[in-house]
């Protein structure tokens, strides 16, 4: 009876797994097929011949290479800035002795979690125009950092809070200043939190579409998701090439995920339960 129930679970879960994985397989197979006719004729089958040319076409002609490196640059820079700024606030609010101000500032950070900032796109657009960064990569980097600060600060602050006071006392006796304690004691000790925050914000930035779509108009500055949507709209008729483009977008994220899935899943659960 019990064994039966267990295999019942497995059957359901396998079906679920199939629903998750099949779209990906469909796209990978399609990306290697000759043309739409072959995709339409045998949607489930393996390609007759592997047409790797689709990948070359997507990478070069559709400028996926340009978009790819734009995305990489923007995501890495914003995520690094996010950790630096968030850990500075996290440290000041939890370890430095200004409890009253810190409590107020912490609630400002929490408020940032509450405000849905997609709905604030228009004033942000205007603000970026005013400070003259619209249509440069900074138009994405600055808002990405701002968006990531609330959650990142909350995660980092939680870790900072749990550091024992004795370490601090010892380092003060050894003559460290607040800055020294931050850089040489606190930061290394919350390393795992920094890694989690970096990955979360990297994935978020890598995947972001709305701001990237509206804040950049120069094609050479575009990020991968936006470039991909444009490519799809332009190449509406060539599904094999479009599929190759999708594979380019999906593979890096899959690689990061397969290597770091434990941190990612932990980060997601920690972050959202607290939020």
């Amino acid at each position: 009876m019990n064994a039966l129930k267990k295999s019942g679970n497995h059957i359901f879960l396998m079906a679920y797994l199939l629903i998750i994985l099949f779209p990906f397989l469909f796209v990978v197979f399609s990306s290697l097929k000759l043309n739409n006719a072959e995709i339409a004729l045998s949607p489930f089958g393996l390609p007759k011949e592997f047409h790797w040319g689709n990948y070359v076409d997507a990478w070069v002609n559709a400028k996926i290479n340009v978009y790819f490196f734009n995305s990489l640059y923007i995501s890495v820079v914003s995520s690094c800035l996010t950790i630096i700024i968030s850990s500075m606030i996290g440290f000041a609010l939890t370890r430095m002795k200004y409890n009253k101000i810190s409590a107020i500032l912490y609630s400002v950070v929490l408020l940032g979690m509450l405000i849905p900032n997609t709905s604030l796109m228009l004033p942000i657009y205007l603000l970026l125009q005013k400070i003259g960064v619209l249509n440069t990569h900074l138009a994405l980097i600055i808002p990405y950092v701002a968006n990531a600060i609330p959650l990142s600060t909350i995660i980092i602050a939680a870790f900072m809070r749990s550091l024992p006071a004795e370490i601090e006392e010892a380092s003060v006796i050894d003559g460290l200043t607040a800055k020294g304690i931050f850089a040489r004691i606190a930061l290394p000790l919350v390393g795992p939190a920094l890694v989690t925050v970096f990955i979360m914000s990297f994935l978020g930035n890598w995947n972001e579409f709305l701001l990237a779509n509206y804040f950049l108009s120069d094609d050479n500055l575009r990020t991968l998701p936006v470039g991909m949507v444009q490519f799809r709209d332009a190449k509406l008729s060539n599904y094999a090439q479009m599929s190759a483009g999708i594979v380019f977008c999906v593979v890096p994220v899959m690689l990061i995920y397969s290597v770091l899935q434990k941190q990612i899943i932990e980060g997601v659960t920690a972050g959202s339960v607290k939020g």
Binding site: F26, K97, V172, A178, N207, V226, C249
Partner: protein
Amino acid sequence: MNKALRNPMTYILFVIPGMLLLFMFFVYPLISSLYYGFTNWNGISDHVKLVGFRNFSKALSDPAFWSSVKNNGYFILFSVFIQVPITIVASLMIANVKKLQGLYKTAIFMPTVMSTAVIGILWGFIYNYDVGLLNKIIVFFGGQPVDWLGSPKTAMLSILITNCWQWAGFYIVMILAAILTIPKELDEAAMIDGATGLQRVRRITMPLIMPVISVVIMLSIAGSMKAADIIIVMTKGGPASSTDVMATYMIKYAITNFKYGYGNALSFIIFIFTMVVTVLYQVLIAKRAERIDY
């Protein structure tokens, strides 16, 4: 000790960059959006005239806007009554098996780390009338192909399914984490008392994971209010505005039609609606699912 950590210059230096960004990108836009909501500005000219509540009353009496509100409502209903139950069942099942648990957990989360835009393109391909996978399956079983994203009748549903496909794994992982922290002894004690599997789920597991389910519902409501990118990528709000949500409707007005003042009024209304839904949920439902310690 206190001296080293009581350095006003350092404190200010550490706090300023983040606070400045929070102010610039959360507080200022909110205030500015409220201000421009009261104007007739087109976003370009120097001519800004205050028009009172005209934008707001225009929005609230616009049937197209209400139809977009309705679509946000569909998002909420679909997530709460279809997605959440699926994720609870799947989490219970994953928690119940030992073999392959890691595989299920890893694979199920995968769509969540993908870009919504790319998932929109991928599913747009699957829904395609001529070459899409879904119609091929339907025809294979002897049915008639359907124009999934091209027909106002099915477009919204198609988007909701894609959205569910993307985010279910995210919620499963959260619920699963909660289930796995429940001490084994509780379940074993109930088993010794002769409780069946279903009884144990109903009397022990479910009550203990209620707080997390409540968070999951909260997050899916918040997500439903924010949804925009998936719609822009899959249907651009069409066909015939049948898939517009509040955010896409706002973007259409402000950016495509140069009605900046009106767009900001919409943006402020979206903010208020989101707050109201969130607070209502917190007050009416979440409060009942109290935290349980064991």
